[in-house]
Amino acid sequence: MAVEMFASLVPVRRDQEKGLRAVLDGLGTSDQSPFAAVPGTHVARLAVIRRVGAAAARDRRLHTALLSFSALVDGPVEDWLGSLPAACGAAGDAVWNHCAGWPGPEPADAFARWLLDFRLPMHTCIIAHEKTSVGEVTTAIEQRKLLLRLAVAARGLDDGELRRAYNEAFGSLATVAI
């Protein structure tokens, strides 16, 4: 498994920019985000782009607004894109239906192909921890927290109590194989 970057510029349907912005503003953060339900998502970003260049330069306005959609995901990207419509559900559909040519949520491979048509070629890409899945990262973060907590608690424990505390803390948590 390798972490991959997906980036796209998707055209927004005429007269739909305002509606799209309203939908995006209403997307919840944290666990309420539609991306929270998509397995293998490290980071996801959406931004509406209406112009390129300084705001003062009038000729920089685009013919149609573009939705910049990018994500850092557990690869392959094609599989991740295929899982998006079902995982994001209605919240995702409410975003994509403002975009030109959206094929609807089904079939999933048509949705993936539609987004791949707008994929940006990357000249250079940098990804930290590029061989580590979301699950491995979140497990490792949790283990670090547990170990820190145990390190503090260990001061008052005898050897047997320490072992029991360790087993309690890590017994149910699979250790990460990196």
Partner: protein
């Protein structure tokens, strides 16, 4: 300058930054990016600083027009997007200091490029061009890239420890646990 929204989720900052570049910038940047892809030394300092979770650069000459075609842009655009550990001002300051010439090579062809330092001028230029975020989500927003690196190293040590202690008695276990804490102290 338009008001700038805070582009962050938890401890992770973001930037979506399409910048028009001068026409000579396109072949120049292609050469630079080729070097970055094929000569590890070019991008090594950026990777070494471990502040960037993910970043990409692409040069756009055409964009979709919403009618099934692509429309040529008046100028080529350097499209940069990144997720990183510090606020934008600090990001610019750190990178402009640490990799100043690379920064100049990279952004020097941008229309309105004000120079790398002082960071205030560069920051104002970024704000003029950046796209405000609409939605930003991260699976582990409270952990910076640096913290994730530490957590992965702790997990690796813990995995080794776990495999070794099963057969130990409580006293030997406690001694091994002590050694584990010493070995991971820097990462906790």
């Amino acid at each position: 300058m338009t008001p700038v929204e805070i582009d962050a989720v938890g401890r992770i900052y973001g930037l979506t930054w399409p910048t028009p570049i001068r026409h000579w910038g396109r072949p120049w940047l292609r050469m630079l990016f080729w070097a970055a892809r094929h000569v590890p030394l070019v991008s090594a300092p950026l990777r070494r600083m471990a502040m960037v979770r993910g970043a990409y650069w692409t040069i756009l000459t055409h964009v979709p027009d919403g009618e099934g075609h692509r429309r040529r842009l008046r100028r080529p655009v350097l499209f940069f997007e990144a997720s990183f550990d510090v606020d934008l001002y600090r990001y610019i300051e750190v990178f402009a200091e640490a990799i100043r010439w690379r920064f100049r090579f990279l952004w020097g062809s941008g229309v309105g490029y004000p120079g790398v330092l002082p960071a205030e001028g560069f920051l104002a230029w970024v704000h003029e061009n950046r796209a405000n975020p609409s939605h930003y989500w991260c699976a582990y927003p409270d952990s910076t890239t640096h913290m994730v690196g530490s957590a992965l190293r702790v997990a690796e040590q813990l995995s080794d420890f776990d495999a070794k202690v099963a057969a130990l008695d409580d006293k030997a276990f406690a001694a091994a646990f002590d050694r584990l804490l010493t070995a991971t102290a820097k990462e906790l």
